[in-house]
């Protein structure tokens, strides 16, 4: 069975400081993992995805994530937060059975000016 745990429901950072949003997964096989961002009153936008190629994945808007199989983690990072990064972030794992996607509970990122 697949599942995703986002370890922080809220993260607050100052503008210009690094961002770390944590995600752990559970999967019985090599998973496909994704990070999505949702700005207020908007749909979900793909930030980046891991599909068993390079373990360090670069995404849009300066975000990147590292797949660590030994730690079953896929944490999202950004070197320097921008005000426009304030949003809800979802870690997602894909299941081959039934073509389903499993969502974490989300992390709300606040950026302080």
């Amino acid at each position: 069975a697949q599942s995703v745990t986002q370890l922080d429901s809220h993260v607050s950072v100052s503008e210009g400081t690094p961002v770390l949003l944590r995600c752990n997964y559970s999967s019985s096989y090599s998973p496909s993992l994704f990070w999505y961002v949702q700005h207020p009153n908007k749909g979900l936008q793909l930030l980046l995805k891991y599909t068993s190629a390079a373990t360090l994945v670069k995404g849009i808007n300066g975000f990147e994530a590292e797949f660590k199989k030994s730690e079953t983690s896929f944490h999202l990072t950004k070197p320097s937060a921008h005000m426009s990064d304030a949003a809800e972030y979802f870690c997602v794992v894909h299941s081959n059975t039934g073509n389903q996607f499993y969502f974490g509970t989300g992390t709300s990122l606040t950026v302080i000016p």
């Binding site: 496909s32 389903q100 969502f103 509970t105």
Partner: protein
Amino acid sequence: DTEVTQTPKHLVMGMTNKKSLKCEQHMGHRAMYWYKQKAKKPPELMFVYSYEKLSINESVPSRFSPECPNSSLLNLHLHALQPEDSALYLCASSRAGNTIYFGEGSWLTVV
């Protein structure tokens, strides 16, 4: 082009009304999804269509009725909804085993 288009963006309906939400994608994806999202919560899966056939129905009440007329279109027919059904309804599509792409959503208010 990674676009999923949803209409309408906003819908207000009474509890006795019948309305429909529409979704369209032209990426050649053969899996299409309806999700319901409440404020500050992750999307909850409602239905999955795979090759125009309903493959997953997550015990959704019958007042929600999905329809997939062809590989590009997905509808969600609404009838006799309750106020607690007010939410953001997200359509999405994916190529099997690959990335899922979301529309901007339809905000539904049931009065």
